[in-house]
């Protein structure tokens, strides 16, 4: 289980000017959205009108937002394109600390212990998964965790894996139960206030998964009239809420106890169950996870292109800068070869066409 549940839209990328109407579309009060869409058509003399727009939007969106802090609106930085953007879309959250091999207190503690403790998933096929025949954890995330252990402690086996559920990732770091979390964890503005991320080690995005012979071609009008499955409260569900291309994707009683779990399900993998049983026609989810689904069913494949951009990072406890720098150092080496080997081993077959790892971005200093 990864970001697909429990993120609640925090993963939406920064909205440029063109995203104005789309952002407005998130509002559940439709007439207002239409009204603003009409106003926004006259993009010519942006200035004053856009400012008015931002004020209107902040007044109307605030009470509707699920959590005020996440969804508060600010104006763009005085460029005249004062389109509403959300406060959590901070500037480039994937920028991390510069790499370094210098020991600090957290590296020293790990060395004293002799083992690196890493929080991982055991449910995500190809990423972090407990193979029932070998009883060991395996996948792309697991390989990366072992590479970090090798760099710090000299052996890929000087590592303790702790399987942690999605909702415990941050708590496990804060409670010092784990040194690192390598668990398909998306870097976003809300989380960088709670944990420290390494540089991005994988670029993912929302994508459509459907049977190979399906008429569904991607996140486009070919979804019209189809039944589409997504995980409850996921980025995919929110994307469908903004634009479903005429697909059916809501359950009666969504978000309540009465939720029938037909089109919206607790876990993204439940969508593949519904698809195999013929209860839905297509799935929208993170393509990294979709690759794990496709790997379990040769009759389905990823369709079209990813329509969002998300980055996965290794998370450490906030303030453990020496550890973050060390992980970034490992990632510099990892990107030069081992990354591609791990991609070939775990992902290429079902997630083809990725030329290489995302380039690291560093903060100043």
């Amino acid at each position: 289980m990864t970001d697909d549940a429990g993120v609640h839209g925090a993963d939406v990328p920064a909205g440029g000017p063109a995203r104005g109407p789309a952002t407005a579309g998130r509002v559940r009060s439709r007439p207002l959205a239409r009204w603003r869409a009409v106003r926004l058509k006259g993009w010519g003399g942006v200035g004053a009108m856009a400012a008015a727009c931002a004020v209107t939007a902040s007044l109307t969106l605030l009470p509707l937002a699920r959590s005020g802090a996440d969804h508060a609106l600010v104006s763009g930085p005085g460029t005249g394109t004062a389109v509403p953007v959300r406060a959590d879309t901070c500037q480039a959250p994937e920028k991390s600390l510069a790499p370094s091999t210098a020991d600090g207190p957290s590296i020293a503690a790990i060395k004293a212990r002799g083992k690196l403790i890493v929080g991982v998933d055991q449910n995500s096929y190809r990423w972090g998964y407990r193979n029932p025949t070998t009883r060991t954890l395996e996948g792309f995330d697991i390989d990366l965790a072992r590479a970090i252990a090798t760099d710090i402690l000299g052996s890929p086996d000087k590592i303790i894996f702790r399987a942690i559920p999605t909702n415990q990732r941050i708590a496990a770091l804060e409670g010092d139960k784990v040194d690192l979390v390598v668990r398909t964890m998306t870097i976003n503005c809300k989380r960088i206030q709670q944990v420290a991320f390494s540089t991005a080690y994988f670029q993912a995005g929302q994508q459509v998964l459907a049977p190979k012979d399906s008429s569904v071609k991607g996140y486009d009008s070919s979804l019209s009239g189809k039944r589409v499955c997504s995980a409850e409260g996921s980025t995919a569900y929110e994307a469908l809420e903004r634009n479903s291309f005429g697909a059916t994707f809501r359950d009666e009683g969504d978000g309540t106890q009465a939720d029938a779990d037909r089109f919206t399900v607790p876990n993204q993998l439940d969508c593949l169950v519904r698809l195999q049983l013929g209860e839905v026609d297509a799935i929208v989810t993170d393509n990294a996870l979709a690759a794990g689904q496709a790997a379990q069913d040769p009759a389905v494949e990823l369709k079209g292109r990813p329509f969002t951009t998300e980055y996965y990072g290794v998370a450490a406890k906030l303030g453990n800068d020496d550890l973050v720098r060390r992980v970034n150092h490992v990632l510099v080496q990892y990107r030069k070869g081992p990354w591609m080997a791990a991609y070939d081993k775990w992902l290429r077959k079902d997630l083809p066409g990725i030329p290489g790892p995302p380039a690291p971005q560093y903060k100043d200093g």
């Binding site: 449910n123 009883r135 909702n167």
Partner: protein, 439 residues
């Protein structure tokens, strides 16, 4: 000639009035009335008590077994779900005994559903639930088979299928089975109530017949100064026996049926409830490890299956406490004390298993849940065995009491009929003896 019926009626009335003017005529009328009264008394008693006895028989041999069968269907389904999850956790190769438990449960449920269907009329509430169960059961087993196939290939998809199967079980099958159990138990209570209904008409007619016999003897005594008329005396004695037999027999039957209901059926209901909740809690405990934190509660803060486990254990505690209050002897109380001890141990072990899992030691947690020794699975099995023992005891109590209740009425309908004929003959003979004095 006056027209037919009316004329005959008028003639009859005329004759009766003429007869009533002479003593022999009055005696003839009296004899006829007495004979009819005791025969009616016997007939009404035979009829009413046959009805009560057949209701009591329904309780013992039809509706209670059906209610128990419905409870078995309910339990088998819950047990199958628990076994499916246990087998799944054990890995690609399911242990043979767990697999057998699952197949036996499904077979039992299917067999009892057929039996229940043949005992149900097509339009009833029970029939609807049976139809639902018959539709859903193959779907459920299909999902479990898919889960197994995927698990065998080492695919996490298997876990998703198993959770979907569990969802079908808890949202479709188990509620239908519960409703079936409630409908069958309602039918049992109806039969029980009609078996216990007082035979008011018999009692009333009996009192009137006896009163008439006493009055006739007093009349004879006043007119002839003879204390005993043997015929009437025999009629009175026979009628008194029937009346007493009726009153005592039915009172005893009622008492036994009350006993069966209070000490048997009510305990059975609470114990079934306890057992189902222990099964649900166990299934959720297993699923906590199957889902591995993949499914959260609606607020996203807690693990769904862990939360459902706690809810199930809470209900189990409540049901056990109720059952202990209802238990009326040591044979009933002992297995409940055992069950309560094992539940406490189960909870303790569960907390240990959770702590191990939360610390990231999945294999350690798995051993603490499905291992052969010192596992929560062992505690669960002991709870289940203790509850089964308690259920068997209460079932015996019920069958014994209800059987005694039914027995208290046996022979009464035939006895009442025979004695009524004797009483009628006695009345007629007694009156004839008086009549002969006028010839």
């Amino acid at each position: 000639m006056p027209p037919g019926g009316r004329g005959a009626w008028a003639v009859g009335k005329e004759r009766l009035r003429a007869a009533a003017t002479t003593e022999p005529g009055r005696l003839q009328i009296l004899g006829a009335v007495l004979a009819v009264l005791v025969v009616v008394f016997g007939a009404v008693t035979a009829f009413e008590i046959s009805d009560r006895a057949s209701s009591a028989d329904d309780v013992v041999s039809r509706s209670q077994p059906l209610s128990a069968d419905a409870a078995s269907i309910y339990r088998s389904l819950a047990d199958a779900d628990t076994a499916a999850a246990s087998g799944f956790l054990a890995g690609a190769q399911e242990p043979a005994e767990v697999h057998k438990r699952y197949t036996d449960d499904i077979a039992t449920a299917s067999r009892l559903l057929v039996k229940a269907a043949t005992n149900t009329d097509g339009s009833s509430e029970s029939a609807r639930e049976i139809a639902t169960l018959n539709e859903q059961l193959p779907r459920y087993t299909g999902l479990v088979e898919r889960a197994r196939a995927a698990n065998r290939q080492g695919l996490p998809l298997g876990g998703a299928y198993l959770r979907y199967a569990n969802q079908q079980m808890t949202t479709q099958l188990l509620p239908a089975a519960e409703r079936l159990y409630e409908a069958e138990t309602k039918r049992l209570h109806e039969d029980d109530t009609s078996a216990r209904a007082w035979p008011w008409l018999s009692l009333a007619v009996g009192v009137i017949a006896l009163g008439a016999l006493v009055w006739a003897q007093r009349r004879t005594y006043l007119r002839t100064n003879r204390v005993f008329n043997h015929g009437l005396l025999a009629a009175t004695a026979a009628s008194t026996v029937v009346l007493l037999w009726l009153a005592v027999g039915h009172t005893v039957a009622r008492a036994e049926l009350n006993d069966a209901r209070e000490h048997g059926q009510n305990s059975l209901q609470v114990l079934n409830d306890a057992r189902i909740n222990s099964l649900k809690a166990r299934a959720n405990e297993n699923l906590t490890l199957v889902a591995r934190g993949a499914v959260l509660t609606d607020d996203g803060k807690k693990d769904k299956y862990e939360t459902d486990y706690s809810t199930g254990m809470g209900k189990l505690d409540t049901a056990l406490a109720q059952a202990r209050e209802l238990a009326d002897d040591d044979a009933g109380r002992d297995p409940l004390a055992e069950a309560a001890d094992r539940v406490a141990q189960w909870k303790q072990r569960h907390a240990g298993a959770r702590a191990t899992d939360d610390a990231g030691d999945y294999d350690g947690a798995l051993a603490k849940v499905i291992g052969a020794q010192d596992s929560t699975g062992q505690s669960f099995d002991q709870v289940d065995a203790a509850l089964e023992k308690a259920l068997a005891h209460e079932q015996r109590e019920f069958t014994r009491s209800a059987g005694d209740g039914r027995g208290a009425l046996s022979g009464l309908p035939v006895g009442a009929a025979v004695l009524a004929v004797v009483a009628a003959a006695g009345a007629v003979m007694g009156i004839n003896r008086r009549l002969s004095e006028y010839r």
